[in-house]
């Protein structure tokens, strides 16, 4: 059973296009995330939702808009794609915080976005 799934796995598109990436988790988690991994493997948080509420919004261009229709889904829509958007995008989920801090996160397989 897939815990965190993303579609599509690969996305090749031209500059200026609009595209979406979908994410679903069946773990019963209440928090979901989007990360961007660049060519040097550096992983950076973009957004986080808890129970459909946006709780983290890093300095990401407003061309990126996350949407969480319910706790199990977090989609990422990107407008006017640019060359610099090429990267691997990971969705992740976790349970809520404890007194000991953030819980372990479960990652999807990633979406490799190539903008030409």
């Amino acid at each position: 059973d897939t815990a965190v799934s993303q579609t599509p796995k690969y996305l090749v598109t031209q500059m200026g296009n609009d595209k979406s990436i979908k994410c679903e988790q069946n773990l019963g988690h209440d928090t979901m995330y989007w990360y961007k991994q660049d060519s040097k493997k550096f992983l950076k948080i973009m957004f986080s939702y808890n129970n459909k509420e946006l709780i983290i919004n890093e300095t990401v261009p407003n061309r990126f808009s996350p949407k969480s229709p319910d706790k199990a889904h977090l989609n990422l829509h990107i407008n006017s794609l640019e060359l610099g958007d090429s990267a691997v995008y990971f969705c992740a989920s976790s349970l809520h915080l404890t007194s000991g801090g953030a819980r372990e996160q479960y990652f999807g397989p990633g979406t490799r976005l190539t903008v030409t």
Partner: protein, 112 residues
Amino acid sequence: SQQGEEDPQALSIQEGENATMNCSYKTSINNLQWYRQNSGRGLVHLILIRSNEREKHSGRLRVTLDTSKKSSSLLITASRAADTASYFCATHAGTGRRALTFGSGTRLQVQP
């Protein structure tokens, strides 16, 4: 700014040897986590160590945490070719944010 930085950036060892990776961070943390990423795959959680813990074991993995030095190490004993992957440390700071801050990773190659 990048919270965790792993050292070394790359490590190549023979099967059966031990592999040690280090992570340094800058601010106070609630916990520190280690993840593995196989090529072309998502990250997989390995182990979580809280700020009041000094050492933790899970199978062939041993993690230490020294909050006074703001550093952690991951030891993989009796390595196998299947351990070949990138290993990342991630910290959760006590800011109320739920996000983890990841380091740049150590690429481990285990030669059969």
